[in-house]
């Protein structure tokens, strides 16, 4: 037997209590791993590495539209291969189901997003039918839509010229992704911009955002800076970023994600502190005579303190590492499930923060009970005082 063996043996004293405590710590660190990964993602600066597409929006907010006259200027920037524009439709299905529908030029959509695949005939129908729309495979499956159907969709933003917010589109195609990742990313509906622009009551000739396909990913930063420089100090100042950063910015509309994450983690760890701290304190209280015997046998105050601290640390380390270990593949699964739109990663930065949290938690829950055990006097403890 070693001292470590003795510490681990003590963890098996009350198996149910140990298991539940470990479960609490595991859950807390699982949350910590995922939320901290979200925090890292949302607090990261612009990242142009490997970007194949850029999104240009109004500098103030993407809710503010940009004029169509910017299109030729953007197209003229060296390194820009294709450009499409899109307008957020504010789609609502039936009573109150909000969907992501965007008005686009069909031909430009196909050029900018070659990852979306659909039969040529359907692309053609999308381009040539004024009231056309196409939807992703996931969306079609979810609502049971089939090609050839007329689908009533209302908009919570754009009324038609007759004042009605109810629109009816012809579903002319169902697109899919070229690979597994893109196939998961088929939850968007696209409607023909020409029809939308003619029929809607206001905001005509405007683009919500421009999406740019780059000729060379290495030029992403340069192209973005050139576009924004072109419109600097104009009435239509722009902000150009990678598609990934734009998507993250979209989630940021929910609120200050970092602050939300910090408050959730604070609540989780405060509760954990109470739960685990109480468990360790109770365990020490129950074993006062045993600590007195250890001291009687010749173990020093520091050794006894070390045993208690090591028990607390063992609980926190085992639970924490399991939690972070589970969070890592779960993060990958979430990033995968969102089609890369929420690319959270429980990476080395999250692990380092997690390890620091494990050390802090061990000290926070173990130090006071350990000091109590270390300081106890043998005679009083054996006499039950």
């Amino acid at each position: 037997m070693t001292r470590t063996g003795f510490v681990l043996a003590n963890l098996t004293r009350r198996k149910t209590r140990t298991a539940l405590t470990l479960l609490s710590i595991l859950t807390a660190f699982l949350l910590f791993g995922l939320l901290q990964a979200v925090n890292v993602l949302f607090s990261a600066g612009a990242d142009f590495v490997g970007a194949t597409r850029l999104v240009t929006q109004a500098r103030v907010s993407f809710t503010q539209s940009l004029p169509m006259r910017l299109l030729p200027q953007i197209e003229s920037v060296p390194g820009v291969e294709d450009v499409m524009w899109q307008q957020w439709f504010g789609a609502v299905w039936q009573e109150n189901t909000q969907l992501i529908f965007l008005a686009v030029d069909p031909v430009r959509l196909r050029a900018v997003y070659p990852e979306y695949v659909m039969p040529d005939a359907q692309w053609k129908a999308f381009a040539e039918t004024r009231t056309s729309m196409i939807v992703g495979r996931n969306l079609a499956d979810q609502y049971g839509w089939k090609t050839g159907e007329k689908v009533p969709i209302s908009s919570n933003i754009f009324p038609q010229k007759d004042g009605s917010k109810n629109w009816i589109f012809d579903l002319v195609g169902i697109y899919d992704g070229k690979d597994a990742q893109w196939q998961r990313n088929t939850n968007v509906g696209w409607i023909n911009y020409d029809y939308f622009d003619e029929a809607n009551l206001f905001g005509r000739g405007a683009a919500g955002t421009y999406t740019i396909r780059l000729a060379n990913p290495d030029q992403a930063r340069q192209v973005a800076e050139t576009i924004d420089a072109m419109f600097e100090n104009s009435p239509d100042e722009t902000k150009t970023q990678t598609e990934k950063d734009f998507n993250i910015g979209f989630f940021k509309q929910i609120g200050d994600i970092g602050l939300i994450v910090r408050w959730i983690l604070f609540a989780v760890f405060f509760t954990l502190l109470l739960v685990v701290g109480n468990t360790i304190a109770q365990s020490v209280r129950e074993r006062i005579p045993e600590f007195a015997i250890l001291k009687t046998l010749g173990f020093s105050d520091a050794s006894v303190l070390g045993f208690v601290l090591a028990e607390a640390a063992a609980l926190c380390v085992i639970g924490g590492l399991l939690g972070l270990g589970l969070a890592t593949p779960l993060g990958i699964a979430i990033a995968d499930a969102t089609g890369g739109n929420l690319p959270i990663a429980v990476d080395h930065r999250v692990w380092l923060m997690g390890l620091a949290a494990i050390v802090l938690l061990s000290l926070a829950v173990g130090l006071l009970p350990a000091l109590r055990a270390g300081r106890l006097t043998i005679v009083d403890a054996l006499a039950g005082r």
Partner: protein, 231 residues
């Protein structure tokens, strides 16, 4: 048996309980020769356990001198006393005080974690100690799987595994039936007689005291008289 194993010189011990100071030992002087088996008897509150704690280095006197094996232990700090206890004293308590999560052999091994012995050497020492107390066949059992007598034997094996010269026993048979108590006391006698251990035992039981070679009576913190047992 003339060399003194324990020398207690004019020892006073007072405890502070709340606002009260309780004097337990009043200038007690005592010699216990090496290889002796001494029973300490007396009514509750007479200071038996206090004296035992002082001799065993679990507590320090308010004044006076205590020498064990020629070493002044009343001057040692808490840390020094802990090291001294590990080398020189084995303890046996009324309620055995074994670690419930450890098997008998692990309980016996516990004091050896404080020594530089290798794992193999520790295993050998544990096997010998369990052999001496006749519990080799119960080595892998946890305390809850043992009878009271067996638990006390494990406690005795733990006390002697590091080969201390002095065994301190506080009511070692207080929780046992007569027959088992006699077996435990016989074992202590063997350790005293055949292994040369000096044994100091506190007991309320006159029959237990008969196993000792001397009985000392304490009352109100002072020694009354000494009686020599026929055993």
């Amino acid at each position: 048996m003339s060399e003194a194993m324990v020398q207690v010189r004019d020892v006073h011990k007072a405890y502070v309980r709340g606002k009260q100071t309780v004097d337990v030992l009043h200038g007690l002087t005592l010699d216990i020769p090496r290889g002796d088996f001494v029973a300490l008897m007396g009514p509750s509150g007479s200071g038996k356990t206090t004296l035992l704690n002082l001799i065993g280095g679990l507590d320090s006197p308010t004044s006076g001198e205590i020498l064990v094996g020629g070493e002044r232990i009343d001057r040692l700090s808490g840390g020094q006393l802990a090291k001294w206890r590990a080398r020189n004293v084995g303890f046996v308590f009324q309620f055995y005080n074994l670690m419930p999560v450890l098997t008998a052999e692990r309980n016996v091994e516990l004091p050896l974690l404080l020594t530089p012995l290798s794992a193999a050497q520790r295993r050998k020492s544990v096997a010998v100690a369990l052999e001496v107390v006749g519990l080799s066949d119960r080595a892998r059992h946890k305390p809850k799987e043992l009878s009271g007598g067996q638990e006390q034997r494990v406690a005795i094996a733990r006390a002697l595994v590091s080969d201390p010269a002095l065994l301190i026993c506080d009511e070692p048979t207080g929780d046992l039936d007569r027959k088992t108590a006699d077996e435990i006391l016989g074992l202590l006698q063997v350790l005293n007689r055949d292994h040369g251990k000096t044994v100091v035992m506190v007991t309320h039981d006159p029959k237990a005291a008969e196993f000792a070679s001397r009985t000392l009576h304490l009352e109100k913190g002072q020694l009354l008289e000494q009686a020599t047992s026929a055993a």
